[in-house]
Subunit: 311 residues, 2 copies
Amino acid sequence: MRCLVLGAGGFIGTNLCLALGARGLPVTGFGRAAAPPPALARVDGLDWRCGNVERLPDPDALVAGHSHLFDLIGAGLPNSSNDNPAQIVADGMPPRIRLLDACRRQGVRRIVFASSGGTVYGPGTAAPIPETAATDPISAYGIGKLAAEKYLALYHHLYGLDYRVLRIANAYGPHQHPLREQGLVASVLHRLLTDTPIPVWGDGSVVRDYVHIGDVVSAMLAVAFGEDGPPRLFNVGSGVGRSVRSVIADAARVAGRPARIVAMPGRSADVAVNVLDSLRLRQRTGWSPSVGWEAGLADTADWLRRALIKS
Amino acid sequence: MRCLVLGAGGFIGTNLCLALGARGLPVTGFGRAAAPPPALARVDGLDWRCGNVERLPDPDALVAGHSHLFDLIGAGLPNSSNDNPAQIVADGMPPRIRLLDACRRQGVRRIVFASSGGTVYGPGTAAPIPETAATDPISAYGIGKLAAEKYLALYHHLYGLDYRVLRIANAYGPHQHPLREQGLVASVLHRLLTDTPIPVWGDGSVVRDYVHIGDVVSAMLAVAFGEDGPPRLFNVGSGVGRSVRSVIADAARVAGRPARIVAMPGRSADVAVNVLDSLRLRQRTGWSPSVGWEAGLADTADWLRRALIKS
């Protein structure tokens, strides 16, 4: 058994590689950087491959020899994805499909795909959202994630290629880079710790489901190595909705710093409320979120402080 | 008001152009052929444009001056689409998105998109299928149609571009070319009339919903020029399921010819049963299918006989 992690240098990828390594599982990390992030120095026997999944000369060579593939590669950011949706489809989807072809040829046993619980469902869905809810994305990013899910199901139907999809809520925690505009918690805590003003889009009432990265990684391991058979698609979230303003207030309390807020216009790709129902994952795998909100914030703040000291 | 019909030389397009022309609506037809099909000689003032939507040098120039756009362009056939799904996405989706961009820039008032009720829902759905059923295509063709639907909804959300999606069952009737392997009814009737053996894939138990082209066209007109507001997505079918074997038997009776059947292996892109529930369309627009099955078969056989005499 050997795991291939695509997007291994990113937030989720770094945490997943650490968890796989801690369990003694051999890991190949694939990322854009020439070398793995320093945090992965702890992973014994990590095989690092540098490349861009959109321009892979030989997908079979990358995939060969791996039993499990974790696809954590995003397709841009939800907001910027609407600037050029045609490009995202043209660049992003065909390489992903060619990767699936390589997986079936090379006998990969299971693919775990990180989909987006925050963008595939779209607006107007009652919270918490079950996996059976309507999928009406309001970003090209969400459409891309949904199409990737559908291709996995197609390849399972046609070729028996096994997979699991995790529709992940807003993950936060250590190793989330605060300056990439990907995670509210990391960004807010970083701004608090560096005494920088915090931009708030719209009235700050947008509600999201924040799930700690430790719980996301445990969900990935549960579905990657758990039982066979359907269902193959699971939400992963805390089930708790928090507004932007309440996240800022909580983070300020945990960081022990006052928040300076700068009002910004609302964004069209923002769904008003997005909270996931993860009952299916709990029932099928025994998973449950184990990191409390305040503890998760403190954990993230600690990591950011250490990262800031280093830089 | 001026209508642009993409795929105007095809089966649905030819019938739609005839219906629009009969109502005195100015029509631009867009197709791959240098000239419109002979049947469209009856459409007064038809403006014909020749081109390939996947290689449009200037989408704005095509779209400008039209109030309504009917997108009837397929993306290959459901079965062959699985041979090279990456290519279908790379070639088919980006031009479609660029066309949407042109529509919003040029002020197109409404887009009517011909989606596929036979492939977007996938297997395991109870018949008859409502629009709210799960969408799990087992062909790249179905995924492409679904993605196109999602992009329409996205552009409506972002830019207010109005649209209607029709998930059409198995359309049949005059002007369906019997040698393109697209329609069972046309193919079977043509083979009966020319005393050619009829291939049957699998055991012939696959059940489909056959809807006459006259009813499809009336549905298109109803949603194109009807009321504003949601819902914007409708099934169009007869609501009656017929097996391949029963279609052949009925067609043989109507044609007055015996059927010679050749058994072929089953196909992976075939859903076992697909019958659509069109209640939403009936309730919202007053539409109902008006062409009976036997009358529709006779109508199609008559057209094929005339087409055969000409050729």
